[in-house]
């Protein structure tokens, strides 16, 4: 038995490599070029020399953006190749190179780039160190991408841990904030806890099938094809635990306990990134696992997932109504949105998969903008995030109020916004698969959810004589750019949705066995 060197083809993970390399470059550049932020300088107290609105360390975000650009370019390159030769696996079956992973990777790169832009301004204003922030965002996007294309449960687990650990740190990034520390602690403990369930799930799947590989020879797909259904109880239990582990990452009820705290305590750009990226990565793994690999077992896992979907939609919407803090409210709303995406997962048809991808892409673009607005209005330690702090926003910043209106309407699913189209697509897929009652529950949950979005709008437009302190937006060109982009995407995708949906439909072919 001689050692056989593995065949190495890097095209499948080229975007991840680009991001990881950029992260290392950012750390190096951070150490050797430019000034350190005040918190790390001895002569603290003085303003940073020459810090304009963009700071004098603009090379770090620029480098990060170049990294994301390279990642998108490499992903598009892979798409061309997939189009020409069909989906394949690489690295001894560890990586799937297919349309699905490419679509998710490009979307994730966009979320990451927006987070960098937003984070730069946020950090410069608070005089926090930037290099590590950008590096962690780059690393976590790389982890999320790896998760989307992993074709082996070992890789899925390592990718999940990579982006989770980066997120634990990013949540507590503003170390002086006590609620941020608390949020990081809670997110970490519950995250590590749920990871062990995911691990036990993998161990049981391995015990049942003798492999952790999804597609390869002797992998789970071929095992399912050759084994009689009566012998699968261990595999079903393992799959259930995998759903628990991933359900935590996408913030599904009853694994949602961390969400409000982590969302509230984290710096708002990070919160937006978590809501957009973490959900997309988690659902990418869920879609590949449930709708493709475990498709033959759908009668076993579907009841569990339907239960999760229904409870998630209802609990998320109802608890959001009683929130007083806008970040917690958006956290519960993100839980409800996870439930809406689950309705597409249980459809197990191509329309469901493309619908879920479209939903997550548009939701991510909207929610990043919403948290950007929270960031510019929240003040240095984000203390002004209560719903009542938005009182009189229309009078103070009419344009910002208008954009927030648009984003809230999109989250509520009102026509001519992307949120409406997205809901239509996922509900349509579920109806097509015969789960009309789940869609009815979803519609009721949306109606409940509309309440709290409207509550923000009412407060915002109210002309009240007793405004204690007018909302004050502190924003530079980067925040304005991100908010504008998000609003434009929300509106444009609400009117001309077909190009993105066609792309998402192209993304429904997977690497096969």
């Amino acid at each position: 038995m001689d050692f056989v060197a593995p065949k190495i083809a890097l095209s499948g993970i080229a975007p991840e490599i680009a991001l990881a390399a950029t992260a290392l470059l950012v750390l190096l550049a951070d150490a050797f070029i430019g000034d350190r932020p005040r918190t790390l300088r001895p002569e603290h107290g003085s303003a940073r020399p020459g810090s304009g609105i963009l700071g004098n360390r603009w090379h770090l975000p620029l480098l990060s953006l170049i990294g994301f650009g390279a990642a998108v370019y490499l992903a598009l390159d892979a798409w061309d190749r997939v189009d020409a030769t069909g989906a394949t696996t690489q690295f001894s079956g560890m990586i799937a190179v297919d349309g699905f992973s490419v679509f998710v990777k490009i979307t994730l790169a966009v979320f990451g780039a927006l987070t960098i832009l937003l984070g730069h301004e946020y950090l410069v204003r608070r005089d926090l160190e930037e290099g590590e922030f950008f590096a962690l965002v780059l690393f976590s996007v790389a982890g999320m991408m790896l998760m989307a294309s992993s074709a082996d449960l070992i890789v899925t687990f390592l990718a999940l841990e990579t982006f989770s650990i980066a997120l634990y740190v990013l949540v507590g990034y503003q170390r002086s904030r006590l609620d941020g520390q608390e949020a990081a602690m809670k997110y970490f403990l519950l995250g590590a806890f749920s990871s062990t369930f995911f691990l036990l799930g993998i161990a049981l799947v391995f015990g049942a099938t003798g492999s952790t590989n999804l597609y390869g020879e002797g992998g789970i797909t071929s095992f399912l094809a050759t084994t009689p259904a009566a012998d699968l109880s261990l595999l079903v239990l393992g799959a259930g635990l995998l759903i628990v582990g991933l359900g935590f990452k996408v913030a599904a009820v009853p694994f949602h306990m961390w969400t409000p705290d982590a969302y509230q305590g984290a710096p708002s750009p990070v919160t937006g990134f978590m809501a957009a990226g973490s959900k997309l990565a988690g659902f990418a793994a869920l879609l590949r696992l449930l709708d493709v690999v475990l498709f033959p077992l759908r009668w076993d896992w579907r009841p569990l997932v339907i239960g999760i979907a229904v409870v998630t939609m209802i609990v998320g919407s109802i608890l959001a109504v009683v929130q007083d803090d806008i970040k917690r409210m958006l956290a519960y709303s993100s839980i409800a949105h996870a439930g809406f995406v689950f309705t597409a997962v249980i459809a197990t048809n191509d329309r469901g998969i493309s619908g879920a991808l479209f939903y997550l892409a548009t939701y991510g673009l909207t929610i990043v903008g919403a948290f950007a607005i929270v960031a510019v209005l929240g003040g240095p330690e984000e203390r002004r995030t209560r719903v009542n702090d938005f009182r009189g926003l229309f009078a103070a910043h009419p344009l910002l109020a208008g954009i927030l209106t648009l984003l809230m309407l999109s989250l509520a699913g009102v026509p001519i916004t992307s949120g409406f189209v997205a809901k239509l697509v996922v509900f349509g897929a579920a109806v097509e698969a015969g789960y009309t009652w789940v869609v009815v529950v979803g519609a009721i949950a949306s109606a409940i959810a509309a309440f709290f979005y409207l509550r923000i709008l009412v407060v915002m437009y109210m002309v009240d004589a007793e405004v204690a302190e007018e909302p004050k937006a502190v924003m530079g060109p980067l925040s304005i750019g991100v908010i504008g982009l998000s609003a434009a995407a929300t509106l444009v995708l609400g009117l001309f949705w077909s190009p993105l949906i066609e792309l998402a439909e192209k993304a429904t072919f997977f690497a096969g066995p």
Binding site: I154, V169, E182, M185, L189, S195, T212
Partner: protein
């Protein structure tokens, strides 16, 4: 040796870990319980790996990765513990109540 005993040991340790996470209040003790759960998963993997023989190396490789990941997780977790301890001189999870439902 029948694999059943190993699986029973593993599930018992895992459940003890789950209980520890839910019942303990000190963050360090919760983290220790999570480590016990990871160990329980490792028993499972090694047992299955032995069961599958030559094809089952994957189980042992995975156990190796779990140990590496556990090290990384413990590092980050203890860093968060120290960060919080500096500010409030205890790490009881139940006393963390700046944020409420």
């Amino acid at each position: 040796m029948p694999i059943t005993y190993l699986l029973i040991l593993s599930s018992m340790l895992f459940s003890i870990g789950v209980y520890g996470v839910l019942a303990r209040q000190n963050a360090v003790l919760i983290l220790l319980s999570i480590e016990l759960m990871l160990n329980a998963v490792n028993i499972n993997l090694v047992a299955f790996s032995a069961m599958f023989g030559a094809e089952g190396v994957a189980g042992q490789v995975f156990a190796l990765f779990i140990i590496a990941v556990a090290a990384a997780e413990v590092g980050v977790g203890l860093a968060i513990v120290i960060l919080i301890f500096r500010n409030r001189s205890n790490v009881d999870v139940d006393e963390m109540s700046l944020m409420k439902w």
